[in-house]
């Protein structure tokens, strides 16, 4: 078993190397001179040349690449052109926001998605089944950012039920501890007995989580349904029924446990997508996460920030996929390495 994990981890290295290489060379293809961009249009040619030398931009590309590689392994992604802060700390500051949103979103998707899929499968060909599956198809056909806008329009502006953005009520003075606001809210509750921080954080995260979670919910529902249908056809389900078990037990115990395996893979992959693709949702809800930061970096042509951000996200994505694969083999009693 550990051999398998080690093997996969080893294979990870060329992939990560590939990611770093691609990101680096893409950025170097980008039009425009980073040094000039940093100094502005008024800069003198000498100042630009000096900065280029300081940044090592006058070296041949391969040398630059190796230098970059060396820095990356030390987790030094350079400094953001916009803020002059180390890129790594910018990333770390914003990571928790994205993670928290992704986790809440995936919980919503998983719970409701699996429920919908199981019920659909157990009542195949009924109106409920067709309705749910059509709904799921509509869900994956919707642009996420549009859904977010509609949610805001209906629930925030018209019904005034939810705030339109941000992570925490503006008027609440709050110093984060873990930077996971829901967690921090609970900590405050234990310390001061006041739920207001927790409730405000919850209040702010619900709408974006629903927006982010809708498409994965639809996908999870569809996969759960087809997996369940496959399982319900199996002989051991017939055996279970012949033992006199209640239908509920047959479906939720015998069938679901078997059908769950491929669903887990999908959940993991969707979680990865959430982390990486939250850009759109974060933009609309003004959620101060990684996606939003990366996007403004792209607009500002902040090359080191873009490189660092893209790499971190891609690597996290790859690691999550690996974790999902490992989890799958762990849970499948038929595969033992």
């Amino acid at each position: 078993m550990t051999k398998y994990i080690l093997k996969r981890l080893l294979l990870l290295i060329p992939t990560i190397l590939g990611i770093i290489t691609i990101v680096f060379f893409m950025m170097s293809l980008a039009p425009g001179d980073p040094a000039r961009l940093a100094l502005g249009a008024r800069a003198t040619p000498e100042a630009v040349a000096e900065l280029r030398h300081e940044w090592g931009l006058d070296q041949p590309l391969t040398t630059q690449y190796l230098v970059y590689l060396k820095h990356v392994t030390a987790l030094d992604f350079g400094k953001s052109l916009k803020t002059q802060e180390p890129v790594i700390s910018e990333i770390l500051a914003r990571f928790p926001a994205t993670i928290e949103l992704s986790i809440v979103a995936i919980i919503i998707s998983t719970v409701f998605g699996i429920l919908a899929g199981v019920i659909s499968a157990s009542k195949q060909y009924s109106a409920l089944d067709y309705g749910a599956m059509f709904g799921a198809l509509v869900g994956v056909s919707m642009p996420v950012f549009w859904l977010a806008l509609i949610l805001i329009m209906v629930f925030s502006v018209n019904l005034n039920l939810f705030p339109t953005g941000g992570r925490m009520g503006i008027r609440l003075i709050f110093s984060p501890i873990t930077h996971f606001y829901l967690l921090d809210g609970l900590i405050y509750f234990f310390r001061t007995g006041s739920m207001k921080y927790f409730l405000s954080a919850l209040h702010h995260i619900i709408l974006p989580a629903i927006a982010l979670g809708t498409v994965p919910l639809a996908i999870i529902a569809r996969v759960t349904r087809s997996s369940m249908l496959e399982v319900l056809r199996q002989d051991y389900i017939r055996t279970a029924r012949s033992k006199g078990l209640a239908e509920r037990v047959v479906i939720y115990k015998h069938a679901l446990k078997n059908a769950f395996l491929p669903v887990i893979t999908v959940i993991g992959i969707e979680f990865g997508f959430n982390l990486a693709g939250a850009v759109l949702t974060e933009e609309i809800f003004s959620w101060p996460g990684l996606g939003r930061w990366l996007f403004s970096a792209m607009n500002a042509r902040d090359i080191p920030a873009i490189q660092g951000g893209v790499m971190v996200i891609a690597i996290v994505f790859v690691v999550i996929n690996l974790a999902v694969d490992v989890l799958y083999t762990l849970l499948n009693p038929k595969i033992r390495y």
Binding site: D235, R238, K243, H254, K257, P333
Partner: protein, 341 residues
């Protein structure tokens, strides 16, 4: 007229554990109606083994699933009665039927490889039956499960009880299924649907022997479904032969082998390599032709297109029941006129 009142002595009726009367189970498919079980009646006596014989597709499996009421869409039990210890199962509520399944009537299936749930341990699957039907503690259920495993001949049952199905061989899995079917304080009827077909020949013999032994010990009745007359010879007390959804002959075990009256039954017997008549010969006699398309049956005898004795009337009318001996009846227009020697 229900077949319950027939040549048998009235007193024997109380020894009947299952009585099926005129069962019809149809499947409504997109291409038409398949009459999988078309007016079949049979009786199983307490402590005895009834063998239900026929080729694949003749309706024997559907018959057994109908008894358990495990027929799902697009199939439906159309009409008939299935009396289990005097009460009609077809009139039971779902809830009551569930209390019967696994408890008084249990079933073992053909494919031991796929009939056990791969993600649960074997012990848990047996214990589940206990816990569903009785109010006993889990620890007691596990103890009884170990006893059952021992009874079905699984070595080191205390260790095996925590195994997953894929860790056991085909023969062992089938033993586990038998144990699961016995997991009840009062097993009444066991239905075994081709229990040995998917197993090696040597294991087959072991499983059959096991079932015989258990039947003696536990005093349960057995409905054995098979296409193999050799298996029938080893285990059955009474035999019902089915073809294309209809019963064509029924007799006690000796009669069926020594005095078969239906051409199909004769054909089946001829296909056993161990049959006496093949001594010295090296060719098996197969029944020519194929099973008719169940969607396009005519109203006569379904065996007509393969029967060497068939006449016009065989295509027009399905034969009436003819009693030709003690516990022996046949459905053929020319019963006891044909010489099969």
């Amino acid at each position: 007229m229900s077949e319950a009142i027939d040549v048998n002595v009235a007193g024997r009726k109380t020894n009947t554990v299952l009585q099926m009367e005129n069962l019809r189970t149809f499947f409504y498919t997109q291409k038409g109606v398949v009459k999988a079980v078309n007016d079949v009646s049979l009786r199983i006596e307490k402590g005895k083994t009834l063998a239900l014989v026929g080729e694949s597709g003749c309706g024997k499996s559907v018959t057994s699933l109908s008894i358990m009421r495990l027929i799902s869409k697009p199939g439906r039990i159309e009409s008939g009665r299935i009396l289990f210890e005097g009460e009609d199962l077809l009139a039971y509520s779902d809830r009551r039927m569930r209390s019967i399944r696994g408890n008084r009537i249990s079933m073992i299936f053909q494919e031991p490889m796929t009939s056990l749930n791969p993600v649960f341990r074997v012990g848990e699957q047996i214990v589940e039956v206990f816990l569903t039907h009785e109010k006993i503690k889990k620890s007691e259920a596990y103890e009884r499960a170990v006893e059952l495993l021992k009874m079905v001949g699984i070595p080191a049952p205390e260790k095996r009880i925590t195994s997953y199905p894929h860790e056991l061989s085909g023969g062992m899995r089938q033993r586990v299924m038998i144990a699961m079917a016995l997991a009840s304080p009062d097993p009444g009827l066991m239905i075994a649907d081709e229990p040995t077909t998917a197993l090696d020949v040597t294991i087959q013999a072991q499983i059959l022997q096991l079932m015989n032994e258990l039947q003696q010990r536990v005093k349960m009745s057995l409905l054995l479904i098979t296409h193999d007359m050799g298996v029938v010879a080893e285990t059955a007390d009474h035999v019902v032969v089915m073809y294309a959804g209809k019963k064509v002959e029924e007799a006690d075990i000796n009669d069926i082998f020594e005095h078969p009256q239906h051409p199909y039954t004769v054909g089946l017997l001829n296909s056993i390599p161990a049959n006496e008549k093949y001594r010295g010969r090296d060719r098996l006699e197969a029944i020519p032709g194929v099973v008719p398309n169940l969607l396009k049956l005519h109203n006569g005898c379904p065996f007509e297109n393969r029967c060497v004795y068939a006449r016009d009337i065989c295509r027009r009318e399905f034969p009436e029941r003819r009693v030709i001996g003690e516990n022996h009846e046949v459905y053929c227009h020319f019963a006891d006129q044909l010489d099969f020697s």
